[in-house]
Structures are given as structure tokens and as C-alpha cells.
Symmetry: C2
Subunit: 352 residues, 2 copies
């Protein structure tokens, strides 16, 4: 399959709302760490340096009421790479050719699984969320080696409510591995603590689950490091993955150094999720918007070609046709002033 | 298998001669490009940005009398990743479980092949070089999907002479893919032009070969970007690999920006290979040294534990026991002043 890339423009006078990045750029602490370590980029990154980032991740997760230890974490070249580790590990363990994903969800699950020659079974979403019953039924029938979900869901912004998630994880077959991709965790969880939409979101790691689950997280979204590529996997097989699957020098040195500091920058995270909370409230006031727990909103728009008209006004949003959502756009939460400009121009185009 | 890492020390007062890195750090042009692009690391790298690096690679290779076009090149997260692309592509095409590598050569070939569950057949080296006849014979008997060689050879520093390489490539079975890993190409080729050891080294791409070959190269060695991770594969299937195997955002943004400029910095390359030429002449004057075309020298040392004694004197070299070369060390070509200190202390230890 062809990968559905977002359109990219170099011109800096575009408002970029098409790829779920952090509108404030990158944490100043991370940028400082990069500048201070430029003299060492002729040297290979090391596993010892991975350990320092893992320590910081453990500390961060304690703030999320999650107990993990460093041995459960493996770092990757973006969360894409740890998703690939999960796929490779599952194939090694089960040697079965099928995987299940949600239809019209994050394209990388299907892309990567197909690159290994796996059969991809796509279960349709139901009201923009996962149809967990249907996934369970499909899994029981097809014996997939792997099931991959994202929570919050890219691109709909919805979540699997915590009770449903707990039941789902307990009911899928024991001999299928489950990946829960929590790339947008920080937006859903930290907003949850403000009682934004009640108390319905939890990480799979915050539930009482009695089976192995694989969780992927990323520094690309809330931490603003998409370009540097740093993600991580949490599971009970991380040591085995690191010794037999992960390439020895997979994460670049500046990502390691930046990640170690970015994760300490609680002010930057706070500013990011506060802005996101306020941006979501504005975007969701638009007719056709699906309520979102992430840093983007899927919007059904009656006017055809709204995407191109926005582009003519120098605003890039995601045209969701290539994802299979005809008549939808996906708008990332930019800075409040960017969202306001988007909203104004969007309404103007609709009223023309 | 466990990956044989080099030992790493943070203390800056060690002389680091254990991992084949560039002793001059990184090209100033590359460092400038990194600093100028820090404000964009919250954004995803793009295929369009890959194209700019590919253009520069094409230009560089013209200087090497090699005609390639951008469509034959695929970029990777270090050359490790493009070696993995090669393995994945070979498995897709041939669906046979065997690969052939040289015994005691670059550990990643075996590590990565095993991570895919492949059987690895290791053909012993002969007088520190490849036994090309034996590889051909083994390939005819075993029908491997893949054969992986490095040229110059890590860790012996030897090459396959150009005539032998041409015959070898023409004689291996047509239904096995061949990877020639040319990570140390710049050291061998640019020194060759000075008539260093006659005129015996050529890239597989500089020969008259009538079958597909896969070449990997890297920015980690001569260009001093090991920590940033940038490598590339050259073959006739690059487009297919990019569309179906390469992850969409595999190379980090700063590596892209640094690579684009590093490859233009001919002065830095010249300084690096000149220093290497002079460093090799000093290191090869040591008894037990194997003549090298790369940026390191394998040395047989009668004194046991020389490795630890050097470390006590704050010089790190590679202990080659874990590679299977008992009684050998591998010494990278540092700056001339570092090599001179090494030589002095090395002789002192031997004479104790």
C-alpha cells in the first residue's frame, strides 16, 4: 500500500494544522540539550544513554499513577519503530499470518504489517469508535497473532472508555498479542484530570489487566519532538526485544539527549495541554465536529473542496478522503490564535 | 545473539580508538545546518526532504565515476536500517530461509538476519579476506536468499580486489541477492587515488556487472555523523522498498539537514582521508598489524591483556575477542597526535 502522507509546504506563512504536531515547537530544555551535545554526534549512541531516558520515563509514569520499571521499556526511532518491534516480536512468537486493526485508523499499522507479508483484517469503526465486540468476535474466529488499536483513536479523536477497555482486553484470545498505541495519551489523560468529559479515559496500564499488553508512547506529540524521532514500548518482553530485535543504534544521539530533558519540562507540557483544552473547545463548537480526546478534531463538512479553499487561504488541514472519510477534514489543535483564524476563514468559506 | 557493543566511557580524557568514528567530529557545514533548523524539529521529516539529500548523493557519486539516479537511492536511519531493508526485501522476493555472511565480519548482518528467524551460514575468512570461491560454492549448495559482504571488510580492513570482486559477483547464483556494504568506501577509494597500495579497490558500482547488486553506504564514518544516523542503499528496487518497506518517517529531520550539507563539505572529507592515510602508515608500522583500506587496523598482539592495560592508560581500543579474533585488538585511526600517543604507550606496555 502507499502511505497516506500529509501535504507539506515549506512556506512559513502557512498555518499548519494537518499533522498533529506541537504548535509551540519543542521544549526549551530539550533544545538546550541538543545544542550542548552537538560536539558528540560523530559518536554512536549507546544503550547506557538509553537508560537515562528510561529513568525519566519511569518518573513521568509515576506521575500518571503507573508503576513500570526500566526493564519494561524499549526505545525506538519514533513510536513507528516500536510498533514494528511489536509486529516482529509477535511473528516470532506465534508464526501466524493474520493481524486485526480498526478500519480507517492510523495507517502505519496496516502499512507495516503488510511489509511483513501479513494479512490485515480491518474491523469497521462504530460511531467513530472501536467496535470492541466485533474485534473480539473476529479475533476468536481468525486467530490473529496481533491486534493493534490506538487509544485515543487517530483520526477520530475518540477513546475506548475505561470499563469497555478493561473488558475488551480480558476477552480477546490469550494467544494474540495486543498493542495499545497511546501516542495521544498526554492530551486525554491530563485533560481528564480537569474533569474534561468526565473521567472516562485511562491507559491500558492504569487498569487491572491480568495478561500481557504492549503500550506504545511517543515524544512526537505533547513533547514536540516529531522530527527527532523518539518513541517507546512498554511490555514484559522489552528485554528480549532489546537483545534480539532492536537494532543496536536505533535512536539517534540528539533524540536521546533531547528526550531526557523534554520529559522533565513539566511547564512546557502544561502549556501544551492547556492550549489543547482551549483549542478543542473552540473546534468542537463547529457543526460536524466529533468530540475529541486528542490534539485534533475530525469534522464533517458539507461543502465539497473545503480543503483546497482553506489551502488557498494558507491554512493546511488534513483532507481525510485518502483515509476513507469522505467529506471530512481533520484539524490539529494549533495555537489559540491560529485556531481563531482557522475558524473565521472556515466560517467565511462556508457562508460564501 | 547478543550484540557485541564497543565499550563506552563518558570521561572526555580518554583517547577513543574503539569505534571507527571520525576523529575530527562533524563537518562545520553540517553543524551549522543543524543549528539553523532546530526550530523545525516539532515537525515530521518528509520524503521531499529526502530528495534533496539524494540529489547531493548523486553529485558526490559522479565524483566517484559512478552514475546513479535519485530513484535508485533509499535513505535509512543509519546504514543498519538499509541493511534491514535489504534483508526484508530479499525475504519478500525469495521466501527462502538462508543467508550467507563472512564469519567474524560486521556483527549486524548476523544479528539482523537472526531477528527475522533466518539461518545464517558463516563462511570463514581466508588470510583476513573473503574466501570468495568458498562463498560461491556454499551459495550454489544452499540457495540462500541473501549474501552479505562488506568491502572494505570490518574488522580486518582488507578488501576484495576489483578483478576478484567482478568475478565473484558474476558467479554467485542469479537468484540470490547480494549486498556489498561500503561503509568505509571513502577511505579506500580516495586513498587509492593517491596510489596507496596500487589501484586495487573499487566499489561494486564501479565494475562492469550485469546483475542487480545492493550497495549500502553511510554518513557515520568519513562524514562524522554516526550519532545522527544516516545511511543509504543503492539498487534498482529502491522505489519498491520506499513504497512498501521503508517506514514513512525513518530518518530524523536533523540527519536530513546535516547530511545534505555534510556531503558538500569536500574540505572536511579531504582532511579526514589525509589524516587517515597518515594514521594508517603509522599504525601499520606496528608488528602484527594487518594492512588496511579502512579507518582502523587489526593488530595481533602477543601480550595478553594489552586491551586492559591500554584502558588503564586511558586509551580505548576494541578488544576483538568477542568478535572471535583472540589476541587481536582493533585500533581506529584517530588524529595523528592521538595515534602517536597510542603508539608510544603501546610500545611501552609491550617492552615492560
Amino acid at each position: 500500500m502507499q502511505y497516506p502522507f500529509a501535504e507539506k509546504y515549506d512556506a512559513s506563512d502557512y498555518i499548519i494544522l494537518n499533522s498533529n504536531i506541537n504548535p509551540f515547537g519543542t521544549s526549551p530544555l530539550a533544545l538546550k540539550a541538543i545544542s550542548e551535545n552537538l560536539s558528540k554526534i560523530n559518536m554512536y549512541p549507546s544503550r547506557e544513554e538509553h537508560e537515562k531516558v528510561k529513568n525519566q520515563i519511569v518518573t513521568k509514569m509515576k506521575r500518571e499513577y503507573i508503576n513500570v520499571n526500566e526493564k519494561q521499556i524499549v526505545l525506538g526511532n519514533g513510536s513507528d519503530e516500536v510498533i514494528e518491534f511489536f509486529i516482529k516480536f509477535g511473528i516470532r512468537k506465534f508464526k501466524r499470518p493474520k493481524v486485526i486493526v480498526g478500519d480507517k485508523t492510523f495507517a502505519f499499522y496496516e502499512y507495516c504489517a503488510r511489509s511483513y507479508g501479513l494479512d490485515v483484517i480491518k474491523v469497521p469503526l462504530k460511531n467513530f469508535g472501536y467496535d470492541t465486540e466485533k474485534i473480539i468476535e473476529t479475533a476468536k474466529k481468525n486467530s490473529p497473532c496481533l491486534i493493534m488499536i490506538c487509544n485515543p483513536i487517530n483520526p477520530t479523536g475518540k477513546i475506548i472508555p475505561k470499563k469497555e477497555l478493561e473488558d475488551f482486553i480480558n476477552e480477546i484470545p490469550q494467544d494474540s498479542f495486543l498493542l495499545s498505541d497511546e501516542a495521544y495519551f498526554e492530551f486525554a489523560f491530563y485533560l481528564n484530570c480537569k474533569d474534561w468529559r468526565g473521567d472516562d479515559y485511562r491507559s491500558a496500564l492504569q487498569l487491572n489487566i491480568k495478561r500481557p499488553v504492549f503500550i506504545s508512547r511517543t515524544f512526537s506529540k505533547a513533547y514536540g519532538l516529531a522530527g527527532l524521532r523518539l518513541g517507546y514500548l512498554i511490555c514484559d518482553f522489552s528485554d528480549e526485544i532489546e537483545r534480539h530485535i532492536s537494532p543496536p543504534f536505533n535512536v539517534n544521539y540528539l533524540a536521546i539527549k533531547a528526550g531526557e530533558k523534554a520529559i522533565l519540562d513539566i511547564d512546557f507540557l502544561q502549556k501544551t495541554v492547556e492550549n489543547n483544552y482551549n483549542g478543542l473547545r473552540i473546534l468542537e463548537s463547529i457543526e460536524g465536529a466529533i468530540p475529541s480526546w486528542a490534539n485534533f478534531v475530525l469534522i464533517k463538512v458539507k461543502k465539497k473542496d473545503i480543503y483546497n479553499e482553506l489551502k488557498n487561504n494558507r491554512i493546511l488541514v488534513r483532507n481525510m478522503e485518502q483515509y476513507g472519510f469522505e467529506g471530512f477534514i481533520r484539524v490539529s489543535v494549533g495555537k489559540i490564535e491560529e485556531i481563531e483564524i482557522f475558524q473565521k476563514i472556515f466560517r467565511k468559506i462556508l457562508n460564501q
